[in-house]
Amino acid sequence: MAEHWQRQSPLTHLGLSAHDKNETSAASLVMAELRFLAKVTLRGRIPGESVRTALGVSLPGEPNTVMTGNNLSALWLGPDEWLIVGPPDAERAMTGQLAKALPGTAVVDVTEGRTTIRTRGPMVLDILAMGCPLDLHPRAFGPGRCAQSTLGRSPIILHQVDGAPLFDIHVERSQADYLWTWLETAGRPYGVAVEAVTAPPAWRRPAPRRYPGAFPPFAPSPSRQPTRGATVPARSVPSS
């Protein structure tokens, strides 16, 4: 029987290590991998409040927005689909709790299906614009917004975390390598730095436990802002 494991994120093999502070402050794009964030999808006709009671975060009703609370983010993915992102190792508790609270809805642990690349820096909007067709201008997007789209040739779930701006890109694990290289290449002429990579926690089998009420703190982002974007303009009418 195995003694211990190295739990491996899809970018572990790159041996990413943080650049020093000077380098990150000079860079136009700063990237980090957020490993092992817990991710659970919810499908069904679900009253947002029931999730709030179960997990401490409400489900956003408005398309392409995010609600946060209790160290969790709930991302709107579709009219009957949400992704709840939490700190590492929370997935079991989350799925357990949800399944109990919402019988008849589809609750699927998809933690391992994606990893998260966090991007920020003075040129982050420009560099994302090199491969993503979304309009990320503050008038059209903003903190608390999310969207599914593509970056380069990879499908992504994009979440603007704050107004700095800082974006979390949830990418399918098999394509993480590709997307990382894509971002590095796109940003290369302008300077790219790697920021503290959250260390993979050692594997421990989560003891069967009750819903803890609050999840372990999860706040690597520098300036977190309230849930929704302040300026969500009315949707534009289709042109012509």
């Binding site: 398309p63 392409n64 993915l77 579709g78 009219p79 689909e81 067709p133 979304l134 969207a147 599914q148 789209s149 593509t150 499908p155 949707r235 534009s236 289709p238 042109s239 012509s240």
Partner: protein
């Protein structure tokens, strides 16, 4: 490069979508459909020059199917409606 109005996500680049072709094709009852009817359902299409009711799938977005009415000549989008709705009268 069209701007497709997803009823959920708003206007998005057409490359995020898959076009599902002609809308409102009724799948006949396999128990009673003749070979000709089945062929009609499988293969025959209106393929109109002009107003076309069609299905689109927001493949790289919310992954929902919906209907649009589009002019196949100038690509104007004349209507957007739910996948469960029938074609709007006004748009032809």
């Amino acid at each position: 490069m069209m701007l497709i109005p997803c009823p959920w996500c708003g206007d998005r680049l057409d490359a995020e979508f898959t076009c599902g072709g002609e809308a409102h094709i009724v799948r006949p009852d396999p128990a009673t459909a003749s070979d000709a009817e089945w062929a009609d359902y499988l293969f025959m299409r209106k393929n109109p020059k002009g107003v076309h009711h069609e299905r689109w799938f927001h493949a790289h977005g919310c992954r929902r199917w919906f209907h649009i009415t589009r002019d196949t000549v100038n690509h104007r989008i004349l209507a957007v409606y739910a996948i469960t709705d029938s074609a709007p009268e006004a748009a032809g």
